[in-house]
């Protein structure tokens, strides 16, 4: 155990999901540990009343995924809330407000705090209630359990299941807990399981029961007396260690016998199983960890700003209390004989004003001041931002342009935390298969016996030709389009429609397709009515093979445990015959083996080994006499790879009985082993028979590029976003895909970093690992240096005005990547990549993907976005600042780990350039404005203090102040955060460079933030000083009345409300009725409030009593002051904007202007859209900016 713990500590990557799936590698035999720590679970099967079982007291099957319970909701959610610094501050303030320290009444402090906290709590509660409803639904599902009905199976609810119960699960039902499979409707005790909910894989998995348990039908015969001893609950989905003690014998158990909760029984009528883990002990619940919570850069920066505000708060509070102390001390002179300001009775006073204890008084005053100026800290900021982000996510989810018709999937923002981060992405790291491509394989070409079959061009070829300027010859044979079959895009008049029989190498062709039809793990699904056959396969490649062989006359139609049946065309007679192959063994595919084989006995009673695999492992396994077509095949494979196709080598061999007998024994031995290295032994055994193969040829399947990928990549790179593709493909394939999706372009300089050099290969052959590593390291170092000097040279000669900026593309393979990611080379590698506009990493493993992501993220400090669709991308998605999952064909695992899910890669363009840009802009503006409005308000309080001898009397009525953040200014900000757009979506896409505003963080730079803050302070000064001078001591009405405290407060407060709301009106770019409603409505609401509040009895309304209706409204000077103050407070910003637009316009300013000027000429809008051409000026801008971009990069 200790050893294991250490290992976990060392491996930080184990946090990444993708590494969780890896089996824990250990040489120890865990079975020997059963009964010791970590392996202590004992399950008494079907014996619930056994005293020992009762003693164990395992948890029930009740599952709760909620964050809160009814009992702990209030304390826990409150605790969550008060983890935020700002909220703690407000809580403390609320408590202190009950003491005489408070500058205002306690309820007026508590009300807004309760409002804000309450709103957040309601949101939490609603979310949790939804989770709870799901739980209740799951807990109350029904299952058949033994013993409920006196010796038969009876129904019970899931939550009532106990460990040891025997349950019966029917087809298409979910397993209620982790079960030990006893037997199934099949004689040999197998069943098929769909694990979509667990790992997102849609293919079916085969599970088998132990022989000892699989023979009985437990409806008839009770399963009793079995005891399972196994591991404690853990999160490893793919491992299980345990033994079954049954009828006096011990049987080792493996994951093969375990059915996991939340997976589904498929293609099997029913199964019996014993409950091993229940409820939260199940593997799926153990796995349910929260995804790493990500916070956007803006939010992190916002925290810093809150700290800045806290410092300002402390500074002004301190200043105030020093003055207060001095003034207070002076109130008593001559040792208490003389009172200065006798009217405040300094002789009989509490400690808070005691001139004799002025230091203490000023300390207390400091606390008061902290409360008084608390308006600098926007209490509603966090809750407003949360509301805004949720609404923004709704817009993302509702966008029709990101809805994919075929899969019926809209875009989904799975977290709303990162909306604005979408607008700041600097580097995109993309998976290839399934992300750039469709991941629906089409069989397009093959090479059989040295002859290449298959006409037609792949997309990559078309794209390459287009780039080279060669027009695509229209030689496509239209005949093929008569019947389109999904997964099959093959046309060759020599082979199709059974014509292959007449080919000279018909026998080879027959063997070739037989391999394809037999060597797989697909399951046929015959449609009862039409007789059409469809296949469920583990991988789309396999499906493509089975479909291809079906289309060409080798129809695989039935699979049983031991047989595979085909309808075949006999190549001699040309007639359709049914042939049954006895399936002896399947040597499964794994990423390390890179091949799969089956051993079958054909109807002629001959033993055959059929094998397919990657060229890198297959060619070395060929027999001497099997290499007849090696040269041609290799040639074809190279060509296929260049055309962006995935290739597999197809081989077979005949096995003689004797050899098979010996091998089988060994193989079965390995298989029945229960130790952890079983897999290694099985592989070794499989290795022994997969040799001396005879080459038949190779297949080539095309993974089509998704629609719109090249355009999308083009747009994104125009936006200055760097794109990395991380793929497991061969270098050639990767490069060609790179060209096809315009990641690499003609005229771009390609830097290739690889270790496929002859000297390293020779070293490798010698087997000296250290020497290889050393040489590789040196070689990579050299190549990196060369790359650097190339880019440096290009940068030196580049004239920014020059149109042909030399662009670089970097291609690096997985092996080199391991060295480049080495600590010593990391920096140089990053440096080089930052100078290249696109980077392709080929042959990279999932682990490398995550590592590269981390390197880019931490090395550059820029925002990274990872996009992928498969389980192998999960690590990358979680590591990146933003993870985008493609909700495509390959299950949901990536989506589950992602922050945003889209159906197609091309939607990324809209997600980033439109939604990302908008959200970034909105949030940035919103936060700046928030600080502005709170400073503008908070500082008027401070200035007033200077005129109130810093005694802590606020200038306004308590309730005006407490309503400020919540009622009079909050809705317009939310409207800004939700609806504002600088330019329309169409223009965002038309001028992708606009996106740089976010990448370079122009709208949320410190200059801008401080600018807004100073604007707030200036506004507060204008408001305060203009008001106190116009409402000086003279009469303010015709009737000779003078302006007192209440009039001054109301006038000044009105000015603040008008100023901050009008400031909003002049700083937003987009005025819909909503904005009008909210902005003018807020002002209107202030007056409404004033009238209503002022008409309450004076004991409630105090200084606000009748102040508007009777006092200030009939006074013209109040209104004139309001106009003057509001206008003057807006003047600095307006003038600044006018200057800015004149001298340093922002990019969106230009675009908006441009649109305005171009519209009269372009006539109707549609024509300008259709033309889509960039105006000359913008073309120029683009070049200008690109040059700047590249220069910027070279600086970094």
């Amino acid at each position: 155990m200790a050893g294991e713990r250490n290992r976990n500590k060392g491996m930080r990557l184990s946090k990444l999901y993708s590494f969780k799936c890896l089996k824990p590698f250990s040489k120890e035999d865990h079975h020997s540990q059963i009964g010791s720590r970590g392996y202590s679970r004992v399950v008494f099967c079907n014996d619930p009343d056994n005293p020992e079982a009762l003693n164990l007291n395992y948890r029930g099957n009740y599952v709760s995924t909620t964050k809160y319970t009814a009992a702990n909701f209030v304390p826990k959610s409150l605790f969550e809330q008060f983890r935020r610094v700002a909220n703690i501050y407000f809580l403390v303030v609320a408590f202190v407000s009950f003491s005489p320290l408070a500058p205002y009444t306690a309820p007026s402090v508590l009300a807004p705090l309760l409002f804000v906290i309450g709103a957040t709590m309601v949101k939490e509660g609603v979310e949790d209630l939804r989770r709870r409803r799901q739980d209740v639904e799951a807990n109350n599902r029904r299952v058949l359990v033994f013993g409920k009905n006196e010796g038969t199976f009876g129904e019970t609810k899931w939550k009532n299941l106990r460990v040891g119960d025997v349950v019966k699960v029917h087809k298409d039902e979910y397993f209620p807990a982790d079960l030990l499979l006893l037997s199934s409707s099949y004689e040999d005790g197998v069943c098929y399981v769909e694990t979509m909910n667990l790992d997102g894989e849609t293919n079916l998995k085969l599970k088998h029961a132990l022989e000892i348990t699989s023979e009985s039908d437990y409806d008839q015969e009770e399963f009793r007396g079995g005891v399972i001893k196994c591991e404690d609950p853990n999160e490893h989905l793919y491992s299980f260690v345990g033994t079954l003690h049954y009828k006096g014998q011990q049987y080792p158990l493996s994951p093969q016998q375990i059915l996991l909760r939340d997976s589904k029984l498929r293609n099997t009528d029913y199964i019996y199983g014993v409950v091993v883990f229940t409820g939260h002990d199940t593997k799926v619940m153990q796995n349910a960890t929260d995804p790493p919570s990500k916070r956007s850069k803006i939010e992190r920066k916002m925290d810093k700003i809150v700290y800045v505000l806290f410092s300002i708060l402390i500074v002004i509070a301190f200043t105030g209390s020093v003055f207060f102390g001095i003034i207070t001390r002076r109130d008593v002179t001559d040792d208490g004989k003389k009172l200065r300001r006798w009217y405040v009775r300094p002789d009989v006073t509490s400690v808070f004003y005691d001139p004799h204890r002025a230091v203490l008084a000023s300390f207390f005053h400091f606390l008061t001041a902290l409360m008084l100026y608390g308006y600098l800290i926007p209490i509603s900021l966090y809750v407003s931002i949360e509301v805004v982000k949720v609404l923004q996510s709704v817009f993302i989810n509702q966008d029709q342009e990101m809805y994919h018709e075929e899969t019926d999937r809209p875009a989904r923002a799975r977290t709303s935390n990162l909306n604005e981060e979408l607008g700041q992405v600097d580097t995109i790291l993309s998976d290839k298969t399934g992300t750039l491509t469709c991941n629906s394989m089409e069989f397009v070409k093959c090479s059989i016996g040295g002859t290449a079959y298959g006409r037609g061009m792949t997309e990559v070829e078309v794209a390459l030709r287009k780039q080279k300027g060669v027009m695509t010859p229209q030689e496509e044979i239209k005949e093929s389009s008569t019947k389109s079959v999904k997964g099959f895009n093959f046309w060759d008049e020599r082979i199709v429609n059974g014509r292959w029989i007449d080919q000279p190498n018909a026998e080879l062709i027959q063997k070739f397709f037989r391999v394809l039809a037999i060597c797989h793990t697909a399951i046929p699904d015959v449609d009862g009515e039409t007789g059409e056959i469809s296949y469920e396969a583990e991988s789309p490649d396999e499906a493509a093979f089975v479909i291809a062989s079906r289309e060409l006359g080798f129809e695989f139609f039935a699979r049983s445990q031991s047989n595979i049946s085909l309808h075949e065309i006999d190549h001699v007679t040309g007639e359709k015959v049914d042939r049954v192959y006895e399936l002896l063994h399947v040597l499964e595919f794994s990423s390390s083996r890179k091949r799969m084989s089956v051993i079958v006995r054909n109807p002629e009673n001959r033993l055959l080994l059929l094998s397919k695999g990657a060229d890198s492992v297959m060619f070395e396994r060929l027999a001497k006499h099997g290499r007849q077509f090696e040269r041609e095949t290799k040639e074809h494979i190279k060509r296929y790879a260049e055309a962006g196709l995935r290739t597999l080598v197809i081989t077979y061999r005949e096995v003689d009985e004797e050899e098979y007998r010996i091998w089988e024994e060994e193989f079965l031995n390995a298989k029945t082993l229960v130790t952890e290295d079983r897999d290694a032994l099985i592989d070794a055994a499989a290795d022994k028979i997969e040799k001396d193969l005879i080459l038949l040829g190779s297949t080539a399947v095309e993974d089509k590029l998704q629609k719109g990928v090249p355009d999308c990549i083009e747009k994104l790179s125009q936006a200055g976003v760097k794109i990395w593709v991380l793929t497991g493909d061969k270098t050639e394939t990767a490069i060609n895909i790179g060209y096809a999706c315009s990641l690499l372009r003609e005229g771009m300089k390609k830097i290739l970093i690889t270790l496929d050099s002859p000297d390293i290969e020779t070293l490798e052959k010698q087997g000296d690992k250290d020497a290889v590593a050393k040489a590789s390291f040196q070689s990579i170092k050299k190549q990196l240096r060369e790359g650097m000097s190339q880019t440096a040279a290009a940068a030196a000669t580049n004239d920014p005005a020059n149109e042909n900026v030399q662009m670089f593309g970097l291609v690096i393979d997985g092996k080199s990547l391991t060295f480049a990611l080495d600590k010593k080379l990391e920096k140089e590698f990053l440096e080089l990549t930052s100078r290249c506009s696109s980077v392709i990493c080929c042959r990279s493993s999932p682990k490398q993907k995550a590592l590269v992501t981390r390197l880019v993220k931490s090395g550059t400090g820029r925002t990274t976005l990872a996009i992928g669709d498969g389980a192998n991308d999960v690590g990358m998605l979680q590591e990146a600042d933003i993870g985008v999952g493609i909700s495509g064909a390959e299950g949901m695992q990536a989506v589950m780990a992602s922050d945003f899910a889209i159906a197609q890669f091309r939607f990324l363009e809209r997600l980033l350039l439109v939604h990302g840009h908008w959200c970034y802009r909105r949030i940035a503006m919103m936060i700046c404005y928030f600080f502005y409005k709170n400073l503008a308000f908070g500082f008027t309080l401070f200035w007033y203090e200077a005129y109130a001898s810093f005694s802590g009397k606020p200038a306004y009525n308590d309730w005006y102040m407490s309503c400020y953040n919540v009622f009079f200014t909050s809705l317009p900000v939310i409207a800004l955060g939700v609806f504002d757009q600088d330019v329309s979506a169409r223009l965002c896409l038309k001028y992708p460079l606009l996106y740089q505003e976010g990448v370079q963080n122009i709208l949320f730079s410190w200059e801008r933030i401080l600018g807004w803050m100073s604007n707030g302070i200036i506004s507060s000064m204008i408001v305060f000083f203009l008001t106190i001078h116009t409402l000086d001591s003279q009469a303010f009405r015709k009737d000779g009345q003078v302006a007192d405290y209440s009039v001054l407060g109301v006038t000044m407060y009105s000015s603040v409300v008008w100023t901050v709301n009008c400031q909003m009106a002049i700083s937003i770019n987009y005025f819909t009725w909503i904005q009008h409603c909210f902005i003018w409505g807020s002002i209107g609401f202030w007056y409404l409030f004033l009238v209503v509040y002022g008409s309450l009895p004076p004991t409630f309304s105090t200084t606000a009593f009748q102040v508007f209706v009777e006092t200030s409204a009939p006074s013209p000077i109040c209104w004139l002051t309001l106009v003057l103050v509001t206008f003057s407070a807006l003047l600095p910003y307006f003038t600044y904007r006018a200057f800015q637009i004149k001298f340093r316009p922002m990019y969106h300013d230009i675009i908006v202007e441009q649109r305005r000027t171009e519209r009269p000429e372009s006539g109707t809008r549609t024509t300008s859209i259709v033309s889509g051409e960039l105006p000359v000026q913008v073309e120029f801008t683009l070049h200008h900016l690109k040059a700047n971009l590249s220069r910027r990069d070279s600086w970094n």
Binding site: Q400, D408, Q981, S1005, S1046, T1072, E1110, P1116
Partner: protein, 350 residues
């Protein structure tokens, strides 16, 4: 600023498939709201609008300023500072002792009217360096007690002027306690000029804040005595001096209405004021002034508003001129891309 209402129609929205969509389709529903295509005006600061805005505001503000200034200039105001002058010369070094002593506090002042003052002429007393907005002071009152005899005993917030010998003070608190107690008697040509002290407070205060059945109790009975005493037979709602005083001032320099003179004062009139100089402003060096003033529609005399309007108006006009010159001399083509802000600020703020 210019505004243009664009009513854009979705480009890809509302495709025919949508109408024939299956019931289960997850296609987002089209609405201008969800697609963020609401009709909107998008203000742009084009040079034309910048200049126009400045010009119009200048043109509106300057006349407004002139009107305000004119109104203010039309107000006739006489200010007489008497705090020092009303101290006998012998007491000039120790004014506080004089004011706290029992000496005769009478003092004669002469005011000459320079311009005709139409009635009503408002009489104010002005105090300076007096912090009626001190938090301790402001809080030291009890609105409930002023309003209804029921709350007579509710004097918590009034300390230290809450009780005398265990009996509550009505009205309690520092504000009431420190009530101003200088008095003025005006004579013109040996004829008494009557000062109308009715209706010098706000009506709502008399009606709702100060009770008709609340009478002063134990007021100024404690020691020390703060200011004016109140006639315990007159209800608070009629004690207008108190009501005026209780409306605390916002700033340390303030005037409060003393009364109104309902006859015109002619130019050249000499007015004698017999003054009781009781109120102690000397310990904190506060000034005391007597103010006679007429009003205009804008209120009393204060040129600040007019000057401020004129200033802002001229700033706007000069900005208008400045920008016109700028645009003429150095026109920047709209949409000219060679000005791009982040080129210069690149790398900033990260």
């Amino acid at each position: 600023m210019s505004f243009s209402a664009t009513s854009s129609i979705a480009l890809g929205g509302g495709s025919p498939e949508a109408s024939a969509a299956k019931i289960t389709s997850k296609r987002p529903k089209y609405s201008r709201f969800t697609q963020q295509e609401l009709p909107a005006c998008k203000p742009i600061l084009t040079p034309k609008w910048v200049i126009l805005t400045f010009l119009v505001s200048g043109v509106v503000f300057i006349p407004l300023g002139a009107i305000c200034l004119f109104a203010s200039q039309g107000v006739i105001e006489i200010i007489d500072q008497y705090d020092t002058d009303c101290i006998p010369l012998t007491f000039r070094d120790n004014k506080v002792r004089y004011i706290q002593g029992l000496e005769d506090k009478r003092c004669n002042r002469t005011i000459t009217v320079t311009k005709t003052m139409k009635n009503p002429v408002y009489v104010y007393y002005q105090l300076e360096n007096y912090y009626q907005n001190h938090r301790r002071y402001v809080k030291s009152r009890q609105d409930g007690q002023l309003r209804s005899p029921k709350d007579e005993h509710d004097v918590k917030s009034c300390a230290p002027e809450d009780t005398v010998g265990g009996e509550p003070i009505v009205p309690c608190g520092l504000v009431a306690w420190s009530l101003f107690n200088d008095t003025y008697d005006f004579t013109r040509n040996n004829q008494k000029l009557s000062v109308n002290k009715k209706d010098i407070s706000w009506k709502s205060d008399r009606d709702s804040k100060f009770g008709k059945n609340v009478f002063p109790k134990n007021f100024q009975k404690g020691s020390p005595i703060g200011g004016k005493s109140l006639d315990p037979k007159i209800p608070l709602s009629e004690q207008e001096d108190l009501i005026v005083w209780m409306r605390t001032a916002a700033l340390p320099i303030f005037r409060k209405l003393y009364g109104k003179i309902d006859t015109d004062l002619e130019a050249g009139d000499t007015i004698n004021v017999l003054l009781q100089n009781n109120y102690n402003t000397y310990s904190f060096n506060g000034k005391k002034k007597l103010v006679l003033s007429t009003t205009s529609w804008l209120g009393g005399r204060n040129d600040f508003l007019g000057i401020a309007y004129l200033t802002v108006g001229s700033i706007c006009l000069s900005l208008a001129v400045f920008f016109s010159v700028l645009y003429l001399a150095k026109p920047r083509q709209l949409g000219d891309p060679s000005y791009l802000s982040w080129n210069r600020s690149a790398g900033g703020g990260r």
